[in-house]
């Protein structure tokens, strides 16, 4: 049961109004091929959950520039001036979530939890509208799970069952999102046969993956590090 698929099959899942998680941190680890394909398809009114809105020409930012996002749930938008403009002009809704809370909310969505209590945001406007719960004399905010219809993530390596390995800091939100969506598509830099990834090296088991699409990448990319 190979999960190798193609861009069109994945894009068929994305329609006006879809709720999508997109991996990456300031475009490091963002599946740019998927993002480009959404821009090309022109799907509108998307709700996008990601760490940030990237840059004008990189990462999730491309979907901001093309005005396809109705609502972004992110921790940071400072690197993309167009997000700020659309936000101020009320053309796009932006829900800003502390980064650690965003990560935990996605994990809660993936792990079947009803929420988590975090000390982050207590005493700030982040607590508005949220339940405050005191545990052992300390206040926490109840933060609720996030899930999406579709997660678009990037992996360094995938086997044909969808077992994934991420690389360096391009891991970030990718494994979390892979657990928190009804349909998970992976843009994989390398695709290997089943059995080629050591079971102890698998960072995300294939049961969470629905479709694997080979990344369109510059043929040679500098991988200088460890």
């Amino acid at each position: 049961m190979s999960k190798i698929s193609d861009l069109k099959t994945v894009m068929d899942r994305i329609v006006d109004g879809s709720v999508i998680m997109i991996g990456g941190f300031l475009a490091v680890g963002t599946p740019e091929g998927f993002v480009d394909a959404i821009v090309e398809k022109g799907t509108r009114d998307l709700t996008v959950i990601g760490n940030d809105t990237g840059f004008l020409d990189k990462g999730i930012g491309k979907l901001v520039v093309s005005k396809q996002i109705k609502k972004a749930i992110v921790s940071h938008v400072g690197t993309n001036a167009e997000t700020g403009r659309q936000m101020n002009a009320k053309e796009m809704e932006v829900e800003l979530v502390p980064q650690g809370t965003l990560a935990e909310r996605i994990r809660a969505g993936g792990g079947g939890l009803g929420g988590i209590l975090t000390p982050t945001g207590v005493g700030t406007i982040v607590e508005e509208g949220k339940q405050k719960i005191t545990v052992n004399g300390k206040e926490y905010l109840l933060e609720l799970p996030l899930r999406a219809e579709i997660a678009l993530i990037k992996a360094y390596k995938a086997d044909k069952k969808g077992n994934l390995v991420f690389r360096a800091t391009s891991r970030n939100f990718n494994p979390l999102m892979a657990m928190a969506a009804d349909y998970v598509a992976v843009e994989a830099e390398n695709i290997v046969e089943i059995g080629e990834i050591d079971p102890d090296e698998v960072m995300m088991p294939g049961v969470f993956v629905d479709a694997i699409v080979p990344a369109k990448q510059p043929a040679i990319e500098v991988k200088g590090g460890a």
């Binding site: 490091v28 700020g84 700030t124 200088g224």
Partner: protein
């Protein structure tokens, strides 16, 4: 020595051997260059790395290895990568010794504002709220006054807070100020700076430490 270098150099002196440190984006990132000799610290970055090393030489960047500002970095031997959830477990879980962040405003309760100016600019909090709440010691590294000369060290923050009563120390080019339960304690002066200059540039009251000295940088 310019203001930024004074600040970065002085912040570096706060590091103790074995500390796990997270440096915010912008000026705090500079502090990595001023870790005192003989002190070994480990840098964590919230995008998923412990053991972050220096910026790589031009042409040797790895597009998968970056810091929380998106700039290429390296990893030192003995470093580790992890996902964003794990990264913030490290940050909130009590093993992060120091976070160094920039600030727009700090007040005498130790409140910090550094993530939005309503109606003007709203970059978002990124990891700053978690870092401020989670780190054992919160150091704010910033210029003493705003670009228009208005004070940033206040009786009470007017901007939306990043975190409530979490700041421990403020390092500016003019002063080192500790947040104590009695208010701001002026402990050190910048090179050639007088008490009066600091007071003039600070809205809040300052308690002058009996051991007040000039920064040794």
């Amino acid at each position: 020595m310019n203001s930024r270098e004074i600040i970065a150099r002085r912040v570096g002196q706060e590091f103790k051997n074995g500390n796990l440190v997270n440096l915010g984006i912008g000026m705090p990132t500079m502090v990595a260059n001023y870790v005192p000799e003989g002190v070994e610290v480990t840098f964590q970055s919230e995008n998923g790395i412990i053991g972050m090393g220096p910026v790589p030489p031009k042409g040797q960047e790895d597009s998968d290895i970056s810091n929380a500002g998106g700039q290429p970095v390296t990893i030192l031997p003995g470093g580790a990568y992890f996902d964003s959830c794990f990264s913030f477990m490290v940050i909130r879980g009590g093993r992060l010794d120091i976070t160094v962040l920039g600030g727009l405003q700090v007040d005498e309760k130790g409140n910090l504002a550094n993530w939005m100016v309503p109606g003007k600019i709203v970059p978002g909090m990124g990891g700053a709220m978690d870092l401020t709440v989670g780190a054992k010691k919160v150091i704010i590294a910033m210029e003493h006054c705003a670009k228009d000369g208005s004070p940033k060290i206040l009786k009470k923050c007017t901007l939306p807070l990043t975190a409530k009563e979490e700041v421990d120390l403020i390092v500016t080019e003019k002063a080192v100020i500790e947040v104590t339960k009695d208010g701001f304690l002026l402990k050190e002066l910048g090179p050639g700076v007088t008490i009066e200059e600091v007071k003039k540039a600070t809205e809040a009251e300052l308690i002058v430490s009996p051991e007040l000295k000039e920064m040794e940088i």
